[in-house]
Symmetry: C2
Subunit: 328 residues, 2 copies
């Protein structure tokens, strides 16, 4: 990947945001969006990236109505609102996982009836989620535009990104849009097909487009030393990443941690859960890009999205910062 | 375009099908799919392109249900059904046109608030239609996969195709999938943005991938000598295209036509209506590829989709065949 051309944007990329599947969908209900969280996250994203008046951009017919109400004159009169450069990538949550795990799409084998059907079914599920997220952002006035990785030439080889049309993402940004990508079923040059997770997409985008910082919005306050449901779980506030990619907790001080950090993998998560998340986050931090893992729809995540914790992490901020340990 | 690389598929492309917006949506109702026609067209497409048992590939949660029923064992036991190589491209009909025409997306000018909002709104509308068409095809067991032109690097310059990721379409076909593209809002290198019509997409795909034939499914029996709503309208059964791209009616014989062929453009059609359709069809026929314009969901369109009218047009077949006039 080091040899890939880096794309230069007219204005630098400020942030890549991951909308974690657990934060924007209802975990225990198949194909159900967490509307309340999605709305709150959309408002936060607007506050973090845009200035000026809100222009609604979802002009769809509402259920039960026969026409669409859009005040064209009012919109025409408004100056173009300025948005800083963001990319949104979302996970699948309760969309897609059922279809992918039932069929084994992540294991490949497109010459099997079940895998081919599961590939189609997975893409239908994740693209329907993508559409709803684009819609929610557009309702808040964010000029969002869906870019589905399969359609956009993302392929893998042994599950590592083999090709990706970064130029389309870069051109969309330069034209004033906020690209919205997602974890997707893609073709794999050795396995036939697999699942490309949103986290892997983010690492690849971060490598190519070098954002100022990356924010992972999830359903817990950050990374803990053990499953956060356990009563004594301690939030890891800062993790330092070494040049070799290894990482260590620096806040709280290691001596304050009673036991070694445990990592859990949710059984339904076909793309690897926390292990993938931390190792992808560490890989991004290794590029010198700060990574924040925060709870969606909270004041903490809003601060992270605004970049306010970059220079100064206040004591009352809850989240995990993962940063490169500069050896100067 | 002549200099563009031609992509060679493992097996040749049999057919590109246009699902006309007028055929699959309700013309006079905003954002409403013509469910009956879409179902009939999906069945026809399956009959034309596939052999073997039907495996449902839309495993979405149905409204009101809490779980998804998929018989994984039954699907596993089925041999992979064989499908010949098709590409589906659909128009927008009552999706997208409202958003595009209200905002003037086709005229460009992304630095205007209204155009930028309209671009986002148009893409939401047309991608929601794309999702429903992919879903309808998948329900019939067609391994359909949506490829949105904007996401797939399609851009224009002065409304002519400037770039397009044909490789992704070709790879999807070689992997056994049926790509489903659509008319879309895209970036234009000179105008900022515009609308890329499904018809223009088809011509570009036909040029690059050389299908055996192209079928346009519409809401009338073919091309008429005047608006088909007029009582004396005569169906043009065969049109011959010259090497210079000009076209002439050869059946019925010109002396049987009482007046010169009129062309109508629907007022709501931001991409040009019949004029665009015939000129795009003529451009395809000029490549030596037969084009059939037929009424969707009829026995005539099924025959055209199966390629049965290629060698022999029977007297009872209703449709318009547009073919290259070979001067040998």
């Amino acid at each position: 990947m080091e040899n890939q051309p880096q794309y230069s944007l007219t204005r630098p990329l400020r942030c890549i945001v991951k909308l974690g599947g657990a934060a924007i969908t209802c975990k225990n209900e198949l194909e159900k969006i967490n509307e309340e969280n999605l709305k709150a996250v959309s408002i936060h994203l607007r506050q973090a990236m845009m200035s000026g008046d809100v222009v609604g951009m979802d002009w769809s017919r509402k259920p039960g109505k026969s026409d669409i109400c859009v005040n064209v004159d009012e919109i025409s009169d408004q100056p173009l609102s300025d948005s800083s450069n963001f990319i949104v990538v979302h996970g699948a949550g309760s969309f897609g996982h059922f279809q992918a795990s039932k069929s084994g799409v992540h294991k490949g084998g497109l010459n099997q009836s079940l895998v081919r059907a599961g590939f189609v079914a997975t893409r239908i599920s994740v693209t329907s989620l993508n559409l709803e997220i684009v819609r929610a952002l557009a309702q808040e006035g964010i000029p969002s535009t869906g870019i589905s990785p399969f359609s956009s030439g993302w392929t893998t080889r042994q599950r590592n990104v083999a090709s990706a049309d970064i130029a389309t993402v870069a051109t969309a940004i330069d034209s004033g849009f906020i690209p919205v990508l997602h974890g997707d079923a893609v073709l794999d040059h050795s396995l036939g097909c697999t699942i490309l997770s949103g986290d892997v997409i983010i690492r690849h985008l971060a490598d190519s487009l070098r954002p100022d910082y990356v924010v992972f919005l999830t359903d817990v306050f950050g990374v803990y030393d053990r499953p956060p449901s356990e009563p004594d779980a301690i939030l890891l506030r800062e993790i330092a990443v070494d040049e070799d990619g290894s990482w260590s907790v620096i806040d709280p001080a290691p001596e304050d941690l009673t036991k070694q950090v445990e990592i859990t993998v949710a059984a339904h998560d076909t793309t690897g859960g926390m292990v993938t998340k931390i190792s992808e986050a560490a890989a991004i931090a290794k590029l010198g890009i700060d990574v924040y893992i925060v709870k969606a729809a909270t004041e903490h995540s809003l601060k992270a999205l605004k970049g306010e914790v970059k220079s100064n992490i206040s004591d009352d901020w809850l989240g995990t910062a993962i940063r490169f340990k500069r050896t100067t």
